[in-house]
């Protein structure tokens, strides 16, 4: 009987079975950022422990960095002190820190892959739930809490229980105007925000096979929004080519052996999956969330659900979401007026995302009532985009072009919604208050759809709008 990639990687990293029945799992790469690590380092000091594998530990600063005025000290004292704490912890414990001056700073889930740190067959941990992003490379990547950050620092291990594996096949091909973001929003809409509890999601099928690494990262990134602790794609030529020549990837000499090992990790054809779900790529439409969790979405051409259309158990949640959003049941999604457009985040802040969005805005103007910003996922993304002139395209259209960071994805920095503003956002969470205003409202969609909404001033269907406006693919 064959095995899944998850089982192979799990077995190879198993140190022992713990008294409570959990597995002690070796962690091959630990990524650290400023928000979830200071308490862990403090406890390490208190208990007189050291970092066991500093050479497998890498840090960056992303959540709290201002994206406009980045000179130190930061205007926000708390942001400054969190950055100082991380600087000190990295220095004291000999951890490599991609800081603001490094040219390699960025959102932790953007820089890991970009630097070639993220590789197939690794176990990866980071104190952030979107660590599932790294699964795009065929790694098993877990978002962890601060006590577990302490565990990994002190032992390079985690105590975990194995997950079941659900294979999600997206067959056929996607229609024009449909992006990886639409695929994952559709999957979460179909399986629910807790449908993935107890599972790792294995994404497969022709549509996934054809995707670039950036697109696969978008999909794996949001696994956690579907309740799955981890998500992955089996490594293939696309994966290997992405990694070749990256700073921390195996060098030219070791690369062929690495590829052989990576290839051997992919799920076997006769592996036993705990569940299999199949979708047709052609059935997926541009998707937009209308509610307060990422499962509350519709195709942009559809209308918002009515309480009477859903099972009784979901009615209260639906009504609460509609009330909070101030949307009436049954009205069309398209045409929803927006106040803010945000392009960025670990879901959709990579170079290809910015290219798609720039393609839509080129030659257009942001609607006069819309505040629009583009926040590259990393300094390297920013530099590459600037080289292509994307920053000029965005600026000419009326977007602000910012420095790298998490920005308005969670607004632990000066970028935030005000009052009841409605934001078309390429990020991953539409929870109440997520973008910094307790009453602010978030509509999740693909970067191209955000760009189109910025120009139109309202939610539009990229498929028809692009044709009418003479843009798009």
């Amino acid at each position: 009987m064959g095995r899944t990639l998850f089982q192979k990687v799990w077995d190879q990293h198993t140190v022992r079975t713990l008294p409570n029945g959990q597995t002690q799992l070796y962690i091959g790469l630990h990524l650290v950022h400023e928000v979830t690590s200071p308490q862990a380092f403090a406890e390490l000091r208190e208990r007189g422990w050291t970092v066991k594998a500093p050479e497998r530990t890498f840090a960056t600063v992303d959540h709290i960095v201002p994206t406009r005025a980045q000179a130190r000290p930061f205007a926000d004292e708390m942001a400054e002190s969190m950055t100082r704490a991380l600087e000190r912890n990295c220095r004291d414990f000999n951890i490599k820190f991609f800081d603001l001056g490094s040219g390699s700073q960025g959102i932790v889930h953007v820089i890991g892959p970009e630097m070639g740190l993220t590789q197939p067959g690794m176990t990866i941990a980071c104190g952030d739930s979107h660590t599932s992003t790294h699964g795009a490379f065929g790694a098993i990547a877990f978002g962890i809490g601060t006590s577990q950050v302490r565990d990994v620092l002190a032992s390079q291990c985690l105590a975990l229980s194995p997950l079941k594996v659900r294979r999600i096949e997206v067959n056929g091909s996607l229609k024009p105007g449909v992006y990886a973001k639409d695929v994952i929003l559709t999957i979460i809409g179909r399986l629910g925000v807790k449908g993935g509890t107890g599972y790792a999601y294995e994404y497969a099928g022709q549509a996934i096979d054809r995707m670039t690494m950036d697109e696969r990262m978008t999909i794996c990134n949001m696994s956690i929004e579907g309740g799955a602790r981890a998500g992955y794609v089996n490594p293939d030529e696309t994966t290997f080519e992405f990694l070749r020549g990256r700073p921390f990837a195996p060098g030219a000499e070791a690369f062929p052996a690495a590829v052989d090992w990576w290839r051997s990790l992919a799920s076997d054809a006769d592996a036993r999956w705990d569940d299999i779900v199949r979708l047709e790529g052609a059935d997926i439409a541009p998707t937009v969330t209308w509610g307060i969790n990422p499962g509350q979405s519709v195709a942009v051409s559809e209308t918002l659900p009515r309480p009477e259309d859903v099972p009784a158990a979901e009615r209260a949640g639906l009504t609460e979401a509609l009330d909070f959003m101030g949307f009436s049941a049954g009205r069309p999604m398209a045409g929803t007026r927006i106040d803010v457009a945000f392009i960025g985040s670990c879901t959709n802040g990579r170079l290809s995302d910015l290219r798609e969005a720039a393609h839509v805005v080129a030659g257009n103007r942001v609607a006069s009532h819309v505040r629009a910003l583009v926040v590259p996922g990393s300094q390297k993304v920013a530099i590459a985009a600037e080289k292509e002139g994307l920053d000029e395209v965005f600026r000419a259209a009326g977007f602000e072009w910012r420095g790298a960071g998490c920005s308005m994805c969670l607004a632990m920095n000066p970028d935030r919604l005000e009052g009841r503003e409605v934001c078309a956002s390429s990020s991953n969470r539409n929870f109440k208050g997520r973008q910094g205003s307790p009453t602010g409202r978030t509509l999740l969609m693909s970067p191209a759809m955000v760009a189109a909404a910025a120009v139109a001033g309202e939610v539009v269907d990229i498929r028809t709008w692009a044709v009418a406006a003479g843009v798009g693919r």
Partner: protein, 207 residues
């Protein structure tokens, strides 16, 4: 290395219920309070935006009802704690004074984080959760008694079966929920595991 955790088998006290499925971590503790390098003071901001929203709507959030002050059990519904992996969420709950969370179901990372700080998360069937919530709302002064060993929660005339992952239950009952010491013991075995992994050898020298 010594463990700092104590055995947790029984939690008794009054309860407070927060209704709603999919209560996410941004609601439990808004992101602006993550701007801190300690967990101190987080309890003051538990459910802060929800509490403010209730006040705006002319309601009183359960946490703000004086008769629920000092509650030691928090009762929630389905998929409690979904969203972020921030441990700030269970830390805020713990620091507000809650010692156990009972819900229809939990998001996995949240439940795992909670156990690691000695805050049991136990689930019960939806109907029984509804009954517990009704009881706690109608009789705020009622004592609830969560017995992890027996796997039940008792309140008034009600006895409800609860469940939690075996590993979590065993860690709490044996007082080994702070796993760091356990994981760091016998580091040779850890090194032997890493030595078998090919990618350790391929790592280029750090620049």
């Amino acid at each position: 290395m010594s463990s700092t955790s104590s055995k947790i088998a029984r939690i008794s006290g009054r309860a407070v219920a927060v209704r709603g499925d999919d209560i996410d971590t941004d609601r439990i503790i808004p992101a602006r309070y993550l701007k801190t390098i300690t967990f101190e003071g987080l309890g003051d901001h538990l459910f802060e935006d929800d509490r403010a929203e209730a006040t705006r709507n002319g309601q009183v959030h359960p946490l703000d009802r004086p008769d629920h002050h000092g509650a030691r059990l928090l009762i929630g519904q389905s998929n409690f704690g979904c969203g972020s992996s921030r441990e700030h969420a269970p830390q805020a709950i713990l620091r507000w004074g809650i010692r156990a969370v009972v819900a229809g179901s939990f998001a996995e990372i949240f439940a795992g984080n909670s156990v690691m700080i000695g805050l049991p998360c136990v689930s019960a069937l939806p109907d029984e959760i509804d009954a517990l919530i009704a009881l706690c709302e109608s009789q705020p002064s009622l004592e609830f008694d969560l017995d992890l060993d027996a796997g039940v929660i008792r309140a008034g005339d009600l006895t409800v079966a609860i469940s939690m992952p075996d590993s979590a239950r065993s860690s709490l009952l044996s007082g080994s929920w702070d796993a760091t010491s356990l994981l760091a013991a016998d580091y040779e075995q850890v090194e032997a595991t890493s030595a078998r992994l090919p990618y350790i050898r391929w790592a280029p020298r750090l620049g």
